[in-house]
């Protein structure tokens, strides 16, 4: 690690102020950022920890019926406290990493990082969630901008994520054998208005909606409905752990499994 200053504000306003400094960076659970610093791959001047901001922590049902999760809420807390409010989301959180990662890592950090193999982006996109920052609200469909890229401006903080709760939903994750991030993960959410299907881990463009499956599932919410569909391997990630063809295949298999689990 290179040397850096450290601040731990207790209000969002103070955090925003602290982040205004040149090369300052927000610190959530540190599960991505700290290893990066240890490898000397980043050199922030200052880390601003968000984990002591009370208004950014916790899970509750909002007035509009959606489930609101503070941006600095660790995965383990979501796994526990969202279990009755949004079981599929809680289950996803409970499958991220290992207990240590879940105790530290936060939903805001995960979404801001937008790792192409991360789990939360699939839930956020499939649920049509809203990302609430210190300055605005961003619809999930506008938030993810490809691998490790988001709509966030420098210094902008994810303070909350609001999830509309679907009638039925499930996340099916096929873990990459080494990292156990999603080699391919599919979140399926069935709303009265239709079905949304979001895929993570598979595409070079990061998380994406599989529109064809959404259509098929909206008229027939069953695993059968996707059996005949296929995804093109073009643009899929190819690496040691799976070819583009394999990932394209998994998209269909995991979608069917998610539907099965949700039904």
């Amino acid at each position: 690690m290179y040397a850096f200053d450290f601040e731990r504000p207790t209000t969002i306003a103070d955090a925003v102020k602290a982040l205004a400094a040149a090369d300052a960076q927000a610190l959530g659970g540190g599960q991505t950022l700290i290893p990066t610093l240890k490898q000397r791959l980043a050199q922030p001047s200052k880390l601003v920890s968000l984990t002591h901001i009370a208004e950014m922590r916790g899970v509750c049902r909002a007035d509009d019926g959606s489930v609101a999760i503070g941006g600095a809420t660790p995965h383990a807390v979501v796994a526990k406290e969202a279990a009755s409010l949004y079981p599929a989301l809680a289950k996803l959180a409970g499958q991220i990493g290992d207990p240590a990662v879940r105790s530290r890592g936060t939903i805001g950090g995960s979404l801001a990082n937008n790792d192409p193999s991360a789990c939360y982006p699939a839930a956020v996109l499939a649920s049509g969630a809203t990302i609430v920052t210190n300055s605005r609200r961003i619809a999930a469909d506008d938030f993810f901008r490809g691998m490790f890229a988001t709509a966030l401006n420098p210094g902008e903080i994810i303070v909350e994520v609001r999830f509309p709760v679907p009638e039925k939903a499930a996340y099916a994750k096929f873990p990459q054998p080494a990292s156990r991030f999603a080699l391919t993960g599919v979140f399926v959410a069935k709303f009265a208005s239709g079905v949304r299907v979001a895929v993570t881990g598979a595409s070079e463009g990061g998380v994406f909606r599989w529109k064809e499956a959404e259509q098929a599932l909206s008229s027939n919410f069953s695993a059968e409905a996707v059996r005949g569909l296929s995804v093109s391997p073009a643009g899929m990630i190819g690496d040691l752990h799976g070819t583009p063809e394999y990932r394209a295949h998994l998209v269909r298999v995991m979608t069917a499994r998610a539907v099965q689990a949700a039904a």
Binding site: M1, Y2, Q39, R40, F174, P177, A178, S179, L183, L240, H241, G242, T243, E245, Y246, H249, L250, V253
Partner: protein, 787 residues
């Protein structure tokens, strides 16, 4: 009733008290007064000409004491290779120079270029980033076949990337060719035994210390064999006489072979400590471990098995390319040759065998012994080709093995070694029982009902342990002896301290060695202490690897203890006024045979050190003996393994549902520790079969340089094992009748897993799949299933 102490008891591992409570003392826990810290500047490219190293900016940075480069090491030796292999034509292998810090060229990513020593570890790292190495990048050679077909030269001065072309047994070559030409059936299999990263839990650490007042140098290091490091580094690299050099390997957190070898970092920090007259410490990061710890396996093999119409094996011919990496690590040349070719007979009566091995230099991390070392590679290809042959000929895989089992001992194989004992039918019978092979059909139906494929893989293995007879290995090119040593020191009050040349880095010697002494003398285990790991207080020993500790180190200890007992009997005879021939030792008491006259162990020990009533004219006072033991043969643990897998036909994911291991380790000192050794070996073997691989891109960059991409086995990747070692055919040539158990699990399990997966696919109708290279990751299995 199971024994509660001594040989055969499952005594709790005493060392675990400190390991589990955070009170172990590992090398990184050692911090010396005035200690400085080292950081290495390493090559980021796999191959390049080193034009110059500019250290001026780094040297001027805060806290920096000195920056060393390859130039500083011109006056000292290179890292020596401990084994010289002679090729098919009687020529010695090509042996490159291996400088401590790169000089002239860099040859793999991670090759050390400079060493920065500073007041703090962070300062050293900061300054290391400021060292400017001017490197003219050269095309790298990664693929072995390309390397020998005229690829770029890793070592220009050698003129070739072919280290050696070894034939064994060369005299059999033509007879083997002929047998294969004329055979009723020949099964051919081409396979890769992939490269593995050892991944000991504790990364390597070295602390060099020099006392200018006494001219004494000490190296604390993560080693499996401190005496070997002292000899290699002292005599060959730095020129420090052994009496002025002490090497300490305290608690060591796993090695699996990777901590046998003498590494550049050890020599570099010792050199720096002497130059700066300050203790210098280096602790590897995990990233550094990935590019500097000697890696394992990496064989590309073609094997042919000739059979008669009844499935009897007639001949085996193999051709293997074995990757040496960029330099010859300490014992690298021996692994694909003498530790591999000599095991090609397996458990079977194959009359004719020819093994050809081409060892190749590439721009990758050096490869050397890794848990099993050569024997897993032999077992894997043999047990895979047998399975394929059985399938081709329509013979049951167990039956074809039984038909070919060696069943009388001693058995002289056609590949030099002679098996002393074994009973392969017995271990197979036991395996079929504990694996519940009879219940497989029912489990198969249950899997089918859930839409899953299920397969059963069974195989045998044999290994040569207890290495090794020194005169034999000397003829084979070893530049070291492979005996072991022990000093048994009895204190005046009866406590016993054993100083062994073996080294425990997880194996539990402190417990099991004490059990042997307790059994021999009849004192409680708690009265026995085992000391290891420090050249200053242990006799010259060769350390721990190749499942040799109890067989060779234990034998040395038994010898020393027998000397103690003989002397103690003389003292007892004097005290009892009897003849020493009439003295019997039992349960810590010396008795005159046939009488009730006795004296206890403690009184004899006291007499030895307070010799008031003592035969001083005939006997020296004191009770301390040293013995060396050089084995007359290898030991040959063997066994049969069964693996049952489920394969998800949609994703290709393999789940190991059941695993059973029936081993013959000869006599067992501590069954619980043996279970643990087998469990760990199985985890590593299953890890190799399903998860682990080391991938370089064509430029020599390591693609699997962290746990994000290098898949280690985890608890939930593994089933509960059924292990059994009740089939015992004691070794005939060591005093304990023991064979060794440290590597068996890693040797026997990979073919069982692969055999099971192939079986599952065949049962699922995918009969076109005859082999899948490890690791059998979901994507590879899925790809194989397509078509």
């Amino acid at each position: 009733m199971p024994k509660d102490h001594g040989i055969g008891a499952s005594s709790k591992r005493r060392e675990d008290v400190r390991f589990l409570t955070g009170r172990g003392r590992y090398t990184d826990d050692i911090n010396l007064t005035g200690q400085a810290y080292a950081a290495f500047v390493r090559s980021q490219v796999a191959h390049g000409r080193l034009r110059g190293v500019d250290t001026s900016a780094a040297a001027a940075m805060p806290g920096v004491l000195h920056v060393f480069t390859g130039k500083d090491f011109e006056s000292v030796g290179g890292l020596p290779c401990g084994w010289q292999v002679t090729d098919r034509h009687g020529k010695p292998m090509l042996e490159p120079r291996h400088p401590v810090l790169a000089h002239g060229k860099v040859r793999h990513v991670g090759d050390p270029i400079a060493l920065v020593v500073a007041e703090t570890a962070e300062q050293a790292r900061d300054a290391a980033e400021a060292v400017v190495a001017e490197i003219e990048e050269l095309p790298a050679v990664i693929d072995m076949k390309a390397a020998v077909r005229g690829g770029p030269l890793v070592h220009d001065e050698l003129g070739s990337n072919l280290c050696y072309d070894w034939g064994f047994v060369e005299e059999n070559r033509e007879a083997v060719d002929q047998a294969i030409r004329n055979a009723h059936h020949v099964t051919t299999l081409e396979l890769v035994n992939q490269r593995l990263v050892p991944n000991a839990m504790e990364p390597r650490v070295a602390v060099g210390d020099y006392n200018p007042a006494t001219d004494e140098t000490t190296l604390y290091t993560t080693s499996q064999n401190p005496h070997v490091i002292r000899l290699l580094m002292g005599a060959f690299v730095l020129g420090i006489p052994e009496h002025k050099l002490r090497v300490v390997a305290p608690d060591v957190g796993g090695g699996f072979g990777s901590k046998i070898f003498h590494y550049a970092e050890e020599a570099a920090v010792t050199f720096a400590a002497r130059a700066l007259k300050r203790p210098v410490k280096w602790t590897a990061s995990r990233s550094e471990s990935f590019v500097t710890d000697a890696q394992g396996r990496d064989h590309v093999t073609k094997i042919e098995l000739a059979l008669d119409k009844d499935g009897h094996f007639l001949a085996i011919r193999t051709e293997t390319y074995a990757n040496m990496g960029a330099y010859l690590s300490t014992f690298a040349p021996s692994v694909p040759t003498w530790l591999h070719g000599t095991l090609m007979a397996g458990n079977y009566k194959t009359p004719l065998i020819y093994v050809n091995v081409k060892a190749v230099f590439t721009n990758t991390v050096p490869v050397d012994a890794y848990r099993g070392a050569g024997r897993p590679e032999a077992t894997f290809q043999l047990e895979r080709v047998i399975d394929k042959a059985a399938r081709e000929m329509g013979i049951d895989p167990v039956e074809i093995r039984r038909r070919n089992f060696i069943d009388s001992f001693p058995y002289q194989t056609p590949v030099a070694v002679q098996y002393d004992t074994g009973n392969y039918h017995a271990t197979m019978d036991k395996l079929l029982e504990i694996a519940d092979v009879a219940g497989f059909e029912k489990r198969l139906q249950e899997s089918k009902a859930r839409g899953m494929l299920r397969g059963l893989g069974i195989n045998c293995y044999i290994e040569a342990c207890g290495i090794a007879p020194s005169n034999l290995v000397g003829q084979l090119g070893a530049r070291a002896g492979l005996y072991e040593s022990a000093t048994v020191r009895v204190n005046a009050t009866g406590g016993i301290v054993v100083m062994t040349g073996s080294h425990s880095h997880g194996q539990g010697h402190e417990t099991s060695f004490a059990q042997v002494i307790s059994e021999m003398i009849g004192v409680p285990e708690s009265q026995v202490e085992i000391i290891h790991g420090d050249t200053a207080n242990t006799p010259m020993g060769m350390g721990t690897y190749g499942s040799r500790s109890i067989a060779v180190g234990g034998s040395a200890m038994v010898r020393a203890a027998n000397k103690i007992i003989a002397k103690a009997k003389k003292i007892a005879a004097h005290l009892l006024e009897a003849s020493d021939a009439d003295i019997e030792l039992k349960d810590g008491k010396f008795t005159v045979a046939g009488t009730d006259k006795s004296v206890d162990w403690g009184s004899v020990c006291l007499a030895a050190y307070v010799p008031h009533n003592y035969p001083l004219a005939d006997l020296e006072p004191g009770l301390e003996e040293t013995a060396f033991y050089d084995p007359s043969n290898f030991t040959f643990p063997a066994g049969a393994y069964a693996c049952e897998v489920e394969v998800d036909p949609e994703t290709g994911k393999v789940t190991v549902d059941r695993f059973a291991a029936a081993d013959d380790f000869g006599n067992i000192i501590n069954p619980m520790i043996v279970d643990g050794q087998v469990h760990g070996g199985l985890a590593q073997g299953i890890g190799q079969a399903l998860l682990e691989t080391t991938a370089y891109d064509e430029n020599g960059q390591l693609l699997t340089g962290s746990y994000m991409d290098y898949a280690m086995p985890r608890a939930d990747d593994l089933p509960f094992y059924r292990v059994d070692h009740s089939c015992k055919t004691p070794c005939t040539h060591n005093p304990l009748g023991v064979k060794g158990c440290g590597e068996a699990g890693a040797i026997g399990s990979p073919p069982a897993v692969v055999n099971a997966v192939i079986d599952a696919l065949h049962r699922g109708g995918m009969t076109h799949v005859t082999h899948i290279d490890m690791p059998l990751s979901p994507s590879r299995v899925w790809a194989a299933m397509q078509r």
